[in-house]
Subunit: 248 residues, 2 copies
């Protein structure tokens, strides 16, 4: 049986403040926990599972046995954010963030206040697909270790380096490669086919890219539209641009 | 003051069964309601707003005055799905669905059990951006008039014809244009650049495209990946393929 203090510690990981303080985060559900363990994506701290899940996991491999704790369904429901019982939650250490990374021959994303965790998760997963190694997030961007983001990105979260910083200041100091912005008016995206390098600025869901970042852009890119839709979702626009920049 | 029966009727629109029976749906919040009214996207049935919202709306235009009802904050909170007070909700008539549409020179999407309303909404909005006029949904696909979908697609929902049917049967009967499937193994997407016509099959988020639909595909397409991510989100994959098919 878990102590009240342990339950409270795990619950506190639902809040960014405690994730930052302890440098750990919570992953929920068999699929995510399994993938993070399998891929050795993050250093494991503890695993809390129902008896049948733990038994099966140990039968498959004893590698993580020392981290496993059997909990009851009631205990588990106290630990998880999701209302559906999900067999297991686990605590992992966050990745170490690199702040000095290579811009040459890489595409680097800069997120200007992406607020929806679902969009952030999709952007991270898509970035990983296209081999993007670094994402710079504004301080108002959703937290990458939010449980919804962890759920949707899984091991991609470990493969992409995610730096939270004053993003405008960062762009000003890192202009050794072209700065690209996707806007409603600009050059046709296909002109940038295969470019393969640059800092790609991504705007907020409701307000787009802030004026200051727009002015820092060397190239303004537009994704051609054929209907009457007013805009594309931020993650969708990111994906289409990444596809073309990597497409040679 | 609203009668209990009216409140109950509006609340019932949170359930697909009642939306189907009454052929109406609920839109929540000033932004969505405003856009649907502005674009005359759907026939309006009734608008329930807080006094200040209604007053301002009538000042701007008296066109919809006859549909407007002033409600209290407490009444509004009973009508809306969202917990944050959002000034207004409105009931609209659903669009008439066309079942016999033109496949030639068009791209038609077929959704194989897309379950997440957020993904469905993003697919509809992206389809509208790329001028896709028709989407065929399997009977297990999320409901396009679900309040989350309405919220994320706004007027795009009115511009795209959405048919729910036995989608496998539909594909079997509509093979006058090429049937395209996006899979992890297939021909490089760029080979289909500018194709501009075809039935594009989109698989379920967790299971991908069912075996039967895979066998109906004339062309198997792959989006090149450069990292270790196992797959792309369904809406993201749809967007990238639509971009290339429309890109000439």
């Amino acid at each position: 049986m878990l102590s009240k203090a342990t339950i409270k510690d795990i619950q506190s990981l639902q809040h960014k403040k405690f994730r930052d303080e302890t440098h750990t985060f919570l992953a929920e559900g068999p699929k995510v926990v399994h993938e993070l363990l399998q891929e050795s994506a993050f250093e494991c701290v503890a695993i809390y599972g129902l008896a049948d899940w733990v038994e099966k996991a140990i039968q498959e491999s004893t590698e993580f046995e020392k981290y496993m704790h059997i909990v009851s369904e009631i205990e588990l429901s106290k630990l998880a954010t999701y209302t559906t019982p999900n067999k297991v939650v686990a605590v992992f250490k966050k990745a170490t963030v690199v702040s000095n990374f290579e811009l040459k021959n890489n595409i680097t994303l800069v997120l200007d206040d992406i607020q929806d965790p679902g969009n952030l998760g999709t952007i991270i997963r898509t970035a990983d697909w296209f081999g993007v190694k670094n994402i710079v997030c504004s301080l108002k961007t959703a937290d990458a270790y939010n449980s919804k983001v962890v759920q949707s990105t899984m091991a991609s979260l470990a493969r992409v380096n995610i730096l939270y910083t004053d993003h405008i200041d960062w762009v000003k100091k890192n202009r050794s490669v072209k700065v690209l912005a996707t806007l409603l008016k600009g050059n046709a995206l296909k002109e940038y086919k295969g470019l393969g390098e640059g800092i790609l600025l991504i705007g907020n869901e409701a307000n787009g890219l802030c004026e200051e970042l727009q002015q820092l852009a060397d190239e303004k890119i537009t994704i051609p539209g054929f209907g009457k839709a007013e805009s594309l979702n931020a993650a969708i626009a990111t994906a289409i641009v990444l596809y073309e920049l990597k497409n040679s």
